[in-house]
């Protein structure tokens, strides 16, 4: 992060607009007790799980009111109900209208078509720890926001409600400006604030099925 004050300003704007309940504590969730890096080809990858901050998620759900359910109207309801983490959707009905949700319980990914490309929105509590001796060369913003440029697009990640969320744009044309810089993907992150919970998530949150 090159300019901390700019990030502070950004965080304040996010908090004001999206509501404090939508914002996690601003700390990436690092699983405690990550095992030391093991050499050897047969190393076993430990798989810590992030704990969902259900109280904050329910706050986000209430702030979303009926917007989230409206945005999710065209998603496969069985897939929504099978998802045991809060689903985040962009407040963009055009983008969500034809979206497809693929749920794995503690992981979901949504694929949406956009002219000349596709958008993915994912959430998970399943992560793997990296070796402590291998730090990551990446800048972080509010909610642990990171942006990476991929072969065909831009990939943003952040942690909200204790869940790792990912927003990705992939472009068909190499010259598509949405995939050249982070403006589009950051804009998409900014409007990905509507919370939806299916049966599995509601049960986990103590809201009943």
């Amino acid at each position: 992060m090159r300019d901390g004050r700019r990030w502070v300003t950004t965080a304040a704007v996010v908090a004001v607009i999206a509501g404090a309940a939508l914002i996690s504590k601003g700390e990436a969730q690092t699983p405690p007790g990550a095992p030391p890096f093991r050499f050897g080809i047969a190393a076993v990858v430990a798989r810590p799980r992030i704990t969902v901050e259900w109280q904050a998620a329910v706050g986000g759900l209430r702030q979303s009111a009926n917007v989230g359910e409206s945005l999710a109207a065209n998603l496969d309801r069985a897939q929504v109900d099978a998802t045991a983490v809060p689903i985040l959707l962009p407040r963009d009905p055009k983008l969500t209208a034809g979206a497809r949700l693929y749920s794995f319980g503690d992981y979901y990914t949504i694929t949406a078509n956009t002219a000349g490309g596709r958008v993915s929105l994912s959430g998970t509590t399943a992560t793997v720890p990296l070796p402590a001796a291998k730090p990551l060369k990446v800048e972080t913003g509010p909610e642990g926001l990171t942006v990476q440029r991929t072969v065909d697009g831009q990939l943003a990640s952040f942690v909200r409600f204790g869940v790792l969320y990912t927003v990705e744009i992939r472009c068909d044309a190499p010259g598509d400006p949405r995939c050249h810089d982070d403006n589009y993907v950051l804009g998409l992150v900014g409007k990905t604030t509507a919370v939806v919970m299916g049966k599995a998530a509601r049960q986990a949150a103590g809201l009943g099925g």
Binding site: F39, I41, Y102, T124, L145, L155, R170
Partner: protein
């Protein structure tokens, strides 16, 4: 990899005013008939890799990167892979930092090709944009022989937080198929899972089992894929044939194989971070290929 807050602020302020994204409906149910696969053949003139054959636009400079990571004083234990393969993270000087990691991130995955393959550099090998003098042909036998070479964190301009130095580098492993013929050799599912996205030259497979690794396959022949979005696939199931599809940009005949996951770690400035990013697939591939050599079936 700077993340500018200005666009985020602007969009947050303007988001309630209007949606700004054109969308199209998903394709209707039922798969459209596919044209027959063309006869495989050797590379043609239009297959010449203008990008160095490795997803690297010629218009983008590759940031300078440090020399390869030093090997540990305490060498790692021997691998179970008996075929000839260079160590993980071993990138020749001047070709990127590499990533020294002996973790087999996906210990049960399948070798992602139905046949043999040759993991090595599309840029610095024969026929590559920075290939050796006197070897201009991608079908050079040097590219289709052992040993394997790790290409994760080979020099590139795209992000890879695991790569030392600039935080840029190759995001996966490049694998040439068994022979220098495109549209002939099958790429197969590394794990059971769901095809969650198909792009113009990419196929994305998310694994059913935790931690739900994301496998991305690039440069298959997209017109003859054996799968479509939403398909649930079994381990070893055919996905498509290795080719050089790259959205109209010529590249070498190879499979770019990417492994992604949610990871937690520390940044270089000491902050905890959790993000979705790339993991080095080289040793997972080596283990998987050794199992194949040992006669274990996949699927």
């Amino acid at each position: 990899m700077r993340v500018s807050p200005i666009p985020l602020i602007a969009v947050l302020l303007l988001a309630p005013l209007a949606g700004c994204d054109d969308t199209t409906k998903p394709p209707p149910a039922g798969e459209a008939p596919k044209p027959p696969s063309p006869e495989p053949g050797p590379p043609k003139a239009d297959d010449a890799p203008a990008d160095g054959g490795a997803e690297q636009p010629a218009s983008e400079p590759i940031p300078p990167s440090p020399d390869p990571a030093a090997q540990p004083a305490d060498p790692p234990g021997p691998t179970s892979a008996s075929f000839d393969h260079a160590p993980a993270g071993a990138i020749p000087p001047g070709q990127g930092p590499g990533y020294l990691d002996r973790t087999v991130w996906s210990p049960n995955m399948c070798w992602p090709l139905a046949e043999a393959g040759f993991p090595n550099s599309q840029v610095y090998g024969p026929g590559g944009g920075s290939g050796p003098a006197g070897h201009p042909n991608q079908c050079d036998s040097l590219n289709y022989s052992l040993p394997w070479h790790d290409t994760f964190c080979e020099a590139r301009s795209r992000s890879n937080p695991l790569c030392a130095g600039s935080g840029t580098g190759h995001q996966g492993q490049d694998i040439r198929p068994a022979t220098c013929k495109k549209n002939e050799h099958w790429a197969v599912a590394a794990e059971a899972g769901t095809i969650t996205d198909i792009g113009t030259y990419t196929v994305t497979l998310v694994a059913k089992a935790a931690p739900h690794y994301t496998y991305r396959y690039l440069h298959m022949q997209m017109s003859t894929l054996a799968v479509k979005e939403g398909d649930q696939v079994a381990r070893g199931q055919n996905l498509g044939k290795v080719s050089n599809d790259f959205g109209g940009t010529p590249t070498t005949i190879h499979l770019h194989f990417e492994l992604r996951a949610g990871v937690s770690g520390m940044t270089t400035d000491g902050k905890p971070v959790t993000l979705h990013t790339f993991l080095p697939p080289y040793l997972s591939l080596a283990e998987a290929y050794q199992r194949k050599l040992n006669g274990q079936t996949c699927g």
